[in-house]
């Protein structure tokens, strides 16, 4: 492995550790905020009429946390994915970071102004994020399958 490739892989690894841990901090903080809304029994979150918002914000918190962990998982996996080309690694990294942004944001925005039985329009970001996640995970899975 050339030095430039090693540097590149190190840069991606560090990026995902950075994004993963900060993402974890962000989405765990969101979890604490949601617990606080519970604690103070705030109607905007707990009223039966706001059931959809509660669900979507919980999903935002859960997806954000899991996807942040996934960034760390990718960072940890990079040394073991030696066969993964630079381009593929870039693309995987790009897809997973986008998924981390789009999925929780889509759920969160969808919960701001939900309708009766449907999330708000912000939820349209979710399928886009899901597509990025699917591609990112697929690329990582293919690379993990390739023989060393």
């Amino acid at each position: 492995m050339s030095d430039s490739t090693a540097d590149f892989r190190e840069r991606i690894l560090r990026r995902h550790l950075l994004v993963g841990w900060w993402g974890l901090l962000l989405f765990l903080s969101l979890g604490i905020i949601l617990e606080t809304l519970h604690g103070f029994k705030l109607g905007l979150y707990l009223d039966p009429a706001n059931k959809m918002r509660r669900l979507l914000w919980t999903l935002s918190h859960a997806h954000g946390t899991l996807l942040a962990l996934m960034q760390i998982a990718l960072a940890v996996s990079i040394p073991h994915l030696a066969k993964m080309s630079e381009k593929r690694l870039k693309l995987t990294s790009f897809c997973l970071i986008d998924a981390l942004v789009l999925l929780p944001l889509g759920f969160f925005l969808g919960g701001i102004n939900p309708g009766e039985g449907d999330p708000g329009v912000g939820v349209l970001l979710v399928p886009v994020g899901a597509a990025f996640l699917l591609v990112g995970v697929l690329l990582a899975a293919i690379s993990a399958t390739s023989p060393k």
């Binding site: 039966p48 009429a49 059931k51 381009k87 870039k90 693309l91 790009f94 970071i97 986008d98 942004v101 789009l102 944001l105 925005l109 309708g115 009766e116 039985g117 449907d118 329009v121 912000g122 349209l124 970001l125 886009v128």
Partner: protein, 659 residues
């Protein structure tokens, strides 16, 4: 916000991410191009997806052909509305007799009425009632002098229930699919079983089953107490009904009663694109009826179907299946005709009516006062439509001005705040600043609540009085010769109609002309005069006023006991006795006057009244307060001679209010 703006704002997020990252992967030029292409694909995809179904599409060409859906289906998307509807008494208007819905005591309960015992009990999970054999009851009623064997007892399985708020009627099913009322029902408000002679305003009958005979659920209750009813009578060769195969989409009043059939709405909205498309354009979904989006007249006709006095238009109904063709949102008059008196109803129902249509209610009309104001419930639309405020459905007033179909509180289904003057301030904002100037009562008194004067309790049903929905100005003329007690005198029970007229003329600054009243109207308390001389409809309303705390405060409670005891002594209608006794309870407390049963036999009631007179009403009326319009002796006792004179003038035709 417009849909386009929504999309543009949302698109910024993926566009930003793509433009940031793709040039780093595939080079600046190619990356930017790819990012823009992908952004276009995402944005275009959203746009096409949401435009795939124009929200204007989906209005059924023929609503009657749309499949119905059960209300549980609506809960999938409209859970909050479903839950608020579940709390209403609309839903439980008709139910099958299951433990969840039975209100009455069936734990081997006994109810004795005029020497006959009815038993309510459960056997093998069924609710059963042992009561008097209807044939025995009929024979006894026809020939009371004839020697009879002991009363026959017949066992009935309670299959269906009607009502869940004030009273609950028990129905049994016969062998030909008809449901019939049983003579003993549960009075929920009092938590007791009562004989149905005491549940409606009607004279007592010697026939134990009198109020059940001829009352077939499939013929009457079916149409207003259920959703999309079909009577479906089976007829013999001569056209006589021999059995029923009645059906409903749902027992009780469910979603589709107000929103129309939902089959298309459910099917079309399986598609999320359509839902978002409708949401973004905020135009509403044409595949379902939304009452709030209808013009007021159409909206109110949804309520009027059951809360208005209507008869079917024979040409518009299927005469074989007899199904109600009206669907929410349609013009009610296409299918039903509104009537304004029982005589007019009979005229409309007659096959070949003769002579001019009688609009004016007779003096014993069981639905309307002499001036056409409804006197019982289920006619609220008629009352509202008569109001100047309604402007014939072209103004702002509608049922939904004060009520809502999905209320927080199922009692009266009022919108929040509508039990205050805020209801009227919605249109009459100017009175907020000059309330006392208008009402001539202190701002915090019940006399300053708009609806106490303009929508007084002039309606009887379910052993209670209710607000009239005819919003009316105060006028003495409306209460003369119509049977309808004057609003002022339903609070000022100790004052005469003459006093009321004097006050109203003074308030108007002379703009109102005084009418010539009879000597008695000017001299005696209007409540006393009505309870002694008027028919049972008026007596019921006035007796009910004695239970209103605001009336007792305005009129003093100290004289009401002895007076109401006199009312009870001479009252032949059990419902009026119940209301008069309620008045006693309001003034003296439940415990003090507990020893009176309005449904007991005459000798027992006489004893009970004597006891009350001895124990509770023995003291004369205290001299502190002046009652110039009450017939009192110098000893501050009720003047029996005046009362007797009034009683001799009583106009007391048989009247029946079947609500």
């Amino acid at each position: 916000m417009s849909p386009e703006l929504w999309f543009a704002l949302l698109l910024i997020v993926p566009a930003g991410l793509l433009l940031w990252q793709l040039p780093r992967i595939v080079g600046k030029a190619r990356g930017t191009l790819l990012a823009l292409t992908l952004t276009g694909v995402i944005g275009g995809g959203w746009w096409v997806w949401c435009r795939a179904h124009a929200p204007d599409s989906g209005t059924p060409a023929d609503w009657s052909a749309v499949d119905p859906v059960p209300s549980e289906t609506c809960a999938k998307c409209h859970d909050d509305h479903y839950q608020s509807w579940r709390r209403t008494y609309h839903r439980t208007m008709t139910r099958d007799a299951t433990p969840e819905y039975v209100k009455g005591d069936f734990e081997d309960a006994k109810y004795d009425h005029l020497g006959f015992r009815t038993s309510m009990f459960r056997r093998d999970g069924e609710f059963q009632m042992d009561t008097m054999d209807p044939n025995w009851a009929l024979m006894r009623a026809k020939e009371p002098q004839r020697p009879m064997p002991p009363p026959g007892v017949r066992r009935y399985q309670v299959k269906r229930l009607v009502g869940s708020h004030w009273m609950q009627e028990c129905l049994y099913q016969d062998g030909v699919g008809a449901y019939h009322r049983l003579p003993v029902l549960y009075h929920i408000a009092e938590k007791r079983w009562i004989h149905n002679h005491g549940a409606f305003l009607a004279p007592e009958s010697p026939d134990f089953w009198a109020k059940c005979r001829g009352v077939v659920w499939n013929e009457t209750c079916l149409f207003c107490h259920n959703t999309r009813p079909v009577k479906n009578p089976q007829r013999d060769a001569r056209g006589r009904t021999i059995s029923y195969e009645s059906s409903v989409n749902e027992l009780g009043i469910s979603c589709e009663a107000c929103h129309g059939p939902g089959g298309d709405h459910v099917r079309l909205n399986q598609d999320p694109a359509r839902r978002y498309s409708i949401r973004l354009t905020e135009r509403g979904d044409p595949s379902i009826v939304h009452p709030a989006r209808l013009p007021p007249a159409r909206r109110d006709e949804i309520c009027a179907r059951c809360h208005g006095a209507t008869v079917p238009r024979p040409e518009a109904w299927d005469r074989v299946r007899v199904n109600d063709p009206f669907i929410a949102g349609q013009e009610l008059s296409r299918f039903n005709t509104l009537f304004h008196s029982e005589a007019e109803r009979d005229y409309l129902l007659a096959n070949k009516p003769e002579g001019p249509k009688p609009i004016k209610p007779a003096s014993n009309d069981g639905r309307f006062w002499g001036d056409g104001t409804p006197l019982t419930t289920a006619l609220e639309y008629n009352g509202m439509a008569m109001s100047a405020c309604y402007e014939n459905g072209r103004g702002k007033l509608s049922c939904l001005s004060c009520h809502q179909g999905h209320p927080h509180d199922p009692n009266f289904m009022l919108k929040p705040g509508m039990q205050s003057n805020e209801a009227c301030y919605q249109c009459h904002q100017e009175y907020r600043a000059k309330l006392t100037e208008h009402t001539h009562h202190p701002a915090d008194s019940s006399g300053s609540l708009c609806y106490n004067c303009h929508m007084p309790h002039q309606v009887f049903s379910l052993l209670a009085t209710h607000r009239s929905h005819r919003i009316q100005r105060l006028s003495v003329a409306d209460s003369r010769g119509t049977g309808k007690p004057h609003a002022c005198n339903l609070c000022h029970l100790d004052k005469s109609l003459g006093w009321t007229q004097k006050e109203l003329v003074a308030w108007s600054g002379g703009r109102t002309q005084a009418m010539t009243l009879t000597e008695e109207e000017a001299k005696w308390s209007s409540a006393v005069l009505h309870l002694m001389t008027s028919d049972a409809r008026t007596r019921a309303i006035v007796a009910g006023a004695f239970a209103q705390q605001s009336a007792l405060q305005a009129s003093g409670a100290e004289w009401t006991g002895e007076f109401l005891a006199t009312v009870l002594e001479h009252e032949r209608y059990p419902a009026v006795r119940y209301l008069a006794h309620r008045g006693m309870r309001a003034a003296y407390g439940d415990e003090a006057v507990r020893g009176y049963d309005y449904l007991a036999g005459p000798p027992t009631r006489k004893q009970q009244l004597e006891q009350l007179r001895r124990d509770v009403f023995a003291a004369p009326i205290p001299a502190g307060r002046s009652y110039p319009y009450l017939p009192l002796t110098p000893q501050h006792r009720l003047d029996g001679a005046v009362i007797q004179q009034m009683l001799q003038k009583r106009h007391d035709p048989d009247v029946t209010i079947n609500e």
